[in-house]
């Protein structure tokens, strides 16, 4: 009986092999006229303001086929733990040629949504009051809403469209209230000298060091020199001490040279590597440091501020 069931299963399954593995993916059509390419209007997967209407059907992607939507950029999301993407194009009702696309990436938690948000942050962005982590460029909105990372992008940034994009975003937030809105690690960075919009979270392999996971960073301008301060939190103080030592060893193994410190930061290790200065220390469960400073003075000055702030927050 079992053999019969197995045989029947194999017999049925053979008709359902994935032809796309052997042939091309299965897009259809040829020699299509532009006028025949219009997508039918369908329901929106988000609540729309009155001025917008769907231009296409919603699309859904998972980690296995995210490449089908964003090609090589999928790697950025996959490394941060993406669970899925829903997206859809919407047009102004009174001008169908003015349209935008709304992307909702489910990143599972705020930490991971902030990671992809921060790694793509545009330099000249304007902060937006939509959410704790949100900004606007000339033609797009980018923000974190708890576990979701959202992009709203248009190529026709007319005021009416930009306003409509904000309305859709606000409604999305209202309908999906986030469980978490702030990352406590960012409060450990000093505010003085900090470059606006420069926070970043690298989920893995920060600075090429495979043991550096979930590393937060921010850029600073100190006496005209730009440096990057970073930190990551470990389960125990012992772990933090060991990770700090391992990073210093990583630098030395890869051509770095030990530099003497002045003692501004307790137990800090400094190294010169490829013409810039790296500094690392641990304070309790926190590993902190400075990346790519132009000289030891700038590195120690910024590290002292970072160490002080961490000490105040984690006595």
């Amino acid at each position: 009986m079992i053999l019969a069931i197995v045989a029947a299963g194999v017999f049925v399954k053979q008709f359902h092999y994935d032809r796309a593995v052997f042939l091309g993916a299965a897009p259809s059509g040829t020699a299509v006229k532009p006028s025949a390419l219009l997508s039918p209007a369908v329901n929106a997967f988000v609540e729309l303001p009155g001025e917008l209407t769907p231009l296409s059907a919603p699309e859904t992607f998972n980690p296995d086929n995210l490449y089908d939507k964003i090609d090589g950029k999928a790697e950025l999301y996959l490394s941060a733990g993406v669970l899925g993407l829903r997206c859809q194009r919407f047009a102004l009702k009174n001008d169908p040629n003015t349209w935008m696309e709304f992307f909702v990436y489910d990143m599972d938690n705020l930490r991971q949504s902030f990671a992809v948000f921060s790694m793509q942050q545009r330099a000249d962005a304007q902060l937006l009051d939509l959410a704790t982590y949100a900004y606007q460029t000339k033609n797009a909105l980018f923000f974190c809403n708890g576990r979701y990372y959202i992009e709203a992008v248009t190529a026709s940034p007319a005021p009416e469209m930009m306003a409509a994009m904000v309305l859709v975003s606000r409604q999305f937030i209202a309908n999906n209230p986030p469980q978490q809105t702030r990352l406590a690690e960012l409060d450990l960075f000093p505010s003085e000298h900090r470059v606006p919009n420069s926070y970043m979270l690298q989920p893995a392999d920060a600075f090429g060091f495979d043991q550096f996971k979930n590393v937060f960073s921010a850029r600073y301008t100190v006496n005209g020199a730009e440096v990057m301060a970073f930190l990551t939190i470990r389960p125990t103080a012992e772990d933090a001490t060991a990770l700090s030592a391992a990073y210093q060893q990583f630098l030395l193994t890869n051509g770095g040279r030990n530099l003497p410190g002045t003692g501004k930061v307790p137990a800090a290790s400094l190294a010169e590597l490829l013409g810039s200065v790296e500094l690392v220390f641990s304070r309790g469960k926190v590993v902190g440091g400075i990346h790519a400073a132009p000289n030891a003075e700038a590195a120690e000055q910024m590290a002292a501020l970072l160490y002080k702030k961490i000490s105040e927050a984690t006595p």
Partner: protein, 330 residues
Amino acid sequence: MTNPQDAQGISRRDFLARAAKAGAAIAATGVVGYWLHDRVGPKAQTVTDLVSLPDFSLPGVGPKMSIITGTERVKTIGRAFAALGGIEQFIKKGDRVLLKVNAAFASPPALGATAHPQLVAEVIRLCYLAGAAAVAVSDNPINDPQSCFRLTGIAEAAQTAGARLVLPQEDYFKPTTVRDGTLIKNWPVLYEPFRGVNKLIGIAPVKDHHRSGASMSMKNWYGLMGGRRNMFHQDIHNIIKELAMLVSPTLVILDGTTTMMSNGPTGGSFDDLKQTNTMIVSTDQVAADAFGATLLGKTAANLPFIAKAASAGRGTADYGSLKPVRDHVD
């Protein structure tokens, strides 16, 4: 707990009967299996099934390159061809031309993620002006093909300019293998648009790429691949090299009028773009990409696929050795 029947044992007669039934069941299964067995099996892709793309490069022309600065694509592409002696040096009367554009995303032209429709239209016009008998435009986009060709503006540009738009469909793909390659083996390639064609032009924008560092002329051939091609992203530099081994174009057009400097290959914000106002035409796809790297603020050495393609004999990373013709057009 013991079954009373088992406890009593079975008779010799019962044993023989059960053994006969079991034997019959096994024999029946064997017969059914034999009946269902496909002695031929799924048709293998034999050597004779494999296709290879023709060599579209022009014999005797040698590596040539022009680099034209200017803000208007229609003007810079015209000057770029003129600098090489005119498009007539490459497209002859009666030629049947395929333009492999980058239409990867359903993204408007202003975001710089795809070939610009104005450029596509102008190249079609120039081909016909040179006497081409037919021009076709094709790509196998990442996103839905119809949406991609429509929203990029390429569909309208192609058809307004008189080209045939060839969207991919399942039976347009044939398996191919790159000689001396390790990745492209028995892999489906968009073959149908090449039938009857004797000239091939690649048209691609200059873009940052999260995985490979850049997407330019050679990466543009990725749009000829079918199947589960995203697996090749795990070996991105070698797949780009093999794409360059797969395709020998008549020439490539690398559009650096607007360069996507960051967050590629999709971009999304105007802030990802920079006006670099440069148009490149070259018969050497490696050299074109080597120069394109400079528009991204990089060098050829920063992009391993360039050295790999050069080592495979597909061109030179030393674009200066081609003595490119440089000019500017207002």
